[in-house]
């Protein structure tokens, strides 16, 4: 209990942060003012407090001037509170004898008025000086970390992360909503700019996931509930019935052939509705796990109960099980990686481009399936009306960079439009027109790919397409779709007749992203993409410790970036598990039994059921292992007997009193 009972000797440090703070706030005036405050033994300013010399200065002063409390006025505590607490610890002082004042994000960066910003800084420093006197020495609690990781989403991000972690020897639970892993990438034909076959690079990874001894793969499953904290998350996973025993099915497809529907009749989700499937189906031949699924919405057995179920009869392994019900799996994991991907923009929201109105208007994802040799037409480019296109128009930025729909750039559309242009031209020999706002091709080999496409004779027309119409004006437009556009390079309004229109749809947050976010307690940007802890320095971490994000759930990105991010997230998770323990901030609450009247007001308020009532003593008690330190119970206690470490009543009251003391 160092320094307890002694007179406080406070050191106050004001950071210039280069010009970031000193440009707006008179740091010397704040420093001189701090010297006049009670119990302040010394006050200094320094150019960069967070730098090594800045921290060393604090450490030296603690030794030389016998300081026992430190206040640093600098940036947000969310950035550097831990840094300075570390310095206190190195100086042999309890790290919680520290208070940080945010005079950068909350003052110098948001105010222009130098006098007002300086006055604000003085007020907040005075409050911190008052508050820090009430600080008590605290110890962080240590918990062991569960040696397994949950990965949510089985696209290329989730697959990569799962494999990286599994290869390090840790156990992974990979949960995927769809019947197969693979995500959007499994639907693509080639990948830009190398024109690698997407399936050739993805499917080996998918099989590796299935074979890996350290991966438990749950497809057709969703996370239902999450509780706990970093190091020990309790997760409930809902496994939807696929009416097939996964352990028995070998994917021979006999049942599919035997189905009473002789021809596939229902819209095939994997082929973007361009193909048909039966009620019993495998989404695509390389699906992992290679097992079939029965869709109860379309299966006669479920709809009428009158089907003879030849699928069940024909299966010699008896894998078909119509009585299968939903199962809940409960697991405990040390870390979570969220890789729930994206949703393609719904092109019907922009009726001016005629999607859903004219049959020959396609989205880019549909065209991916169309050019794919395992797609619904086996790679043959035939329009919905049976015609082979001689002219194709690709419209960029559909649902991107558009005030009416989504403001953001989806980053991948320019490049995949070029790729599709190449593939369509290769398959059909058609004239391909690109209608673009700007060509955005930053990336390794990307601009070279663009140059290559120009050499291949792709027509580039700069201008956001105004509309797609079947209203023809000349004989050569007859029977075609006309794209109207202002060619902004030649300052000329053009009408371009084509047989097929491809809409390069942008990326949006995935379906259900909001529920996922709430379940895992992470924030999202106003677009709905998950928010990283810091855009530059913590791009895969979130505000919730132990929860990491990777891939397009964080924002639109291409496959190389997604894979890199998934690797980073995996490294974070493995580092966390390898350390073996986590330290939890000590800002938990406890009850003073001498004051507790046993009224039980606090008990129903705790979201973590951390408060128990001792029937013998007739007093409440907080289980510190369960308390996460919100302080809700503290505010409710009528006798003031609950105390939250670091946010004690007298600490907060002293802050309130001091910020107002010069009114």
């Amino acid at each position: 209990m160092e320094n307890n009972g002694k007179q406080p000797r406070i050191g106050v440090y004001i950071c210039h942060c280069g010009f970031n703070i000193a440009g707006t706030i008179d740091v010397n005036a704040v420093c001189e003012y701090a010297k006049t405050l009670p119990h302040v033994a010394l006050a200094r300013t320094y150019k960069y407090m967070c730098s090594d010399p800045g921290q060393e200065m604090i450490i030296a002063d603690i030794a030389e001037h016998h300081l026992n409390r430190i206040v640093v006025a600098a940036c947000s505590p969310n950035l550097h509170e831990a840094t300075f607490r570390g310095a206190l610890q190195r100086a042999g002082l309890n790290p919680y004898f520290f208070q940080m004042v945010n005079i950068r994000e909350h003052a110098s960066w948001v105010h222009d008025d130098r006098a007002a910003a300086t006055a604000k800084a003085k007020d907040q420093v005075r409050a911190a000086v008052a508050r820090v006197q009430f600080h008590k020495p605290l110890e962080r609690k240590r918990f062991n970390v569960e040696q397994s990781v949950l990965v949510v989403g089985g696209g290329i991000a989730g697959i990569t992360a799962a494999l990286e972690i599994a290869n390090s020897g840790k156990h992974v639970y990979l949960v995927e909503r769809e019947p197969s892993i693979g995500g959007h990438m499994a639907k693509y034909d080639k990948t830009f700019p190398t024109l690698d076959c997407a399936a050739c690079i993805l499917t080996p990874k998918m099989s590796e996931v299935r074979e890996h001894p350290n991966i438990t793969l749950w497809t057709y499953s969703e996370v239902q509930e999450v509780s706990g904290h970093v190091g020990k998350f309790h997760v409930k996973v809902r496994r939807k019935p696929r009416f097939i025993d996964e352990d028995l099915c070998v994917g021979c497809m006999e049942c599919v052939s035997a189905c009473v529907y002789k021809e596939p009749k229902f819209e095939d989700e994997f082929n973007e509705g361009l193909g048909k499937r039966k009620p019993i189906f495998m989404p695509f031949p390389q699906a992992v796990p290679p097992v079939v699924t029965i869709d109860p919405e379309t299966c006669l057995k479920f709809k009428t109960g009158k089907c003879k179920s030849p699928c069940a009869t024909v299966c010699d392994r008896k894998a078909v099980n119509f009585d299968q019900t939903e199962r809940i799996e409960e697991i405990e994991v040390g870390a979570v990686i969220i890789a729930t991907g994206f949703k393609a923009f719904d092109a019907t929201r922009l009726p001016l481009y005629g999607y859903g109105i004219y049959s020959n208007v396609y989205t880019s994802l549909e065209v991916e399936r169309l050019v794919n040799s395992s797609g619904p037409t086996a790679g043959d480019i035939v329009c919905r009306d049976g015609r082979k296109p001689k002219a194709i128009g690709i419209i960029h930025c559909v649902g991107s960079r558009d005030k009416k729909t989504n403001r953001w750039c989806s980053r991948v559309c320019c490049m995949y439009s070029l790729k599709l242009a190449h593939l369509l031209r290769e398959h059909t020999g058609a004239d391909v027109y690109q209608f673009y706002i700007d060509m955005r091709c930053p990336g390794k080999g990307y601009d070279e790919f663009y140059e290559r496409l120009l050499d291949e004779g792709i027509q580039m027309i700069r201008g956001r397409a105004a509309e797609v119409t079947d209203w023809t004006m000349t004989p050569e437009e007859e029977g075609k779709l006309v794209i109207r556009v202002e060619d902004t390079l030649s300052a000329y309004v053009r009408r371009v007749p084509v047989d097929m229109v491809v809409l390069s749809v942008g990326m949006e947050p995935a379906e259900g992203a909001d529920e996922v976010r709430r379940m895992f307690n992470i924030s999202c940007s106003k677009e709905g993409f998950f928010l990283e802890k810091h855009p530059k320095l913590a791009p895969v971490e979130t505000a919730t410790a132990g929860v990491f994000i990777a891939g397009c759930c964080q924002g639109p990105k291409d496959i190389p970036d997604t894979v890199a991010q998934a690797g980073a997230a995996a490294a974070h998770a493995v580092a966390l598990l390898d350390k073996g323990y986590v330290e939890i901030e000590p800002n938990t609450a406890y009850i003073n039994p001498d004051h507790c009247s046993g009224c039980k007001s606090c008990i129903p308020l705790c979201p973590y059921h951390a408060i128990v009532f001792d029937d013998g003593l007739k007093k409440a008690r907080i289980d510190e292992a369960l308390c996460l330190g919100c302080g809700t119970c503290v505010a409710s206690c009528p006798s003031g007997s609950i105390i939250q470490n670091l946010f004690e009543d007298e600490q907060i009251f002293s802050e309130i009193d001091e910020v107002l003391s010069n009114v």
Partner: protein, 169 residues
Amino acid sequence: MSERFDPKIVAFFCNWCTYAAADLAGVARMKYAPNLRTIRVMCSGRIDPQFVLEAFARGADGVLIGGCHPGDCHYISGNYKCLRRFKLLKRLVQDMGIEPERLRLEWISASEGDKLRQVVNEFVATLATMPPLNLPKRFVEWDKEVAILREQVDAAHAQEEQQEVSTHA
């Protein structure tokens, strides 16, 4: 009030949403009025109604509470508890003669730096149209009034006593 009145606002921001939104506003260099004095709590559920009353009593012209949007609380439901207390508190301050507009609760998520800027500017503008609350000064005046009243009462008592003494005599 000859000079321009600059209202003083005490803000209680939860660490995960509104405090982070204020950080974001800073990073984006959004400019807003410098009247706020911010006190960080982990959750809006920690905000004891007494904090708010103390702030008014010590001279705040307004109190701003910032929490996560309903359903988004880092601690599951602290913001709902805050909302309940806020509703009661709003009636309480009104009964005490403090205009309810002086107490404001806003849900501001970590990505809503711009909302924070708007809310602060709006709140400052609203408070600037009202006279300063200045409870500490009023307390002094009230104390004086009470002292005068007490003197009068004491004087009356003294007189009564004297009269009683004289009648018995």
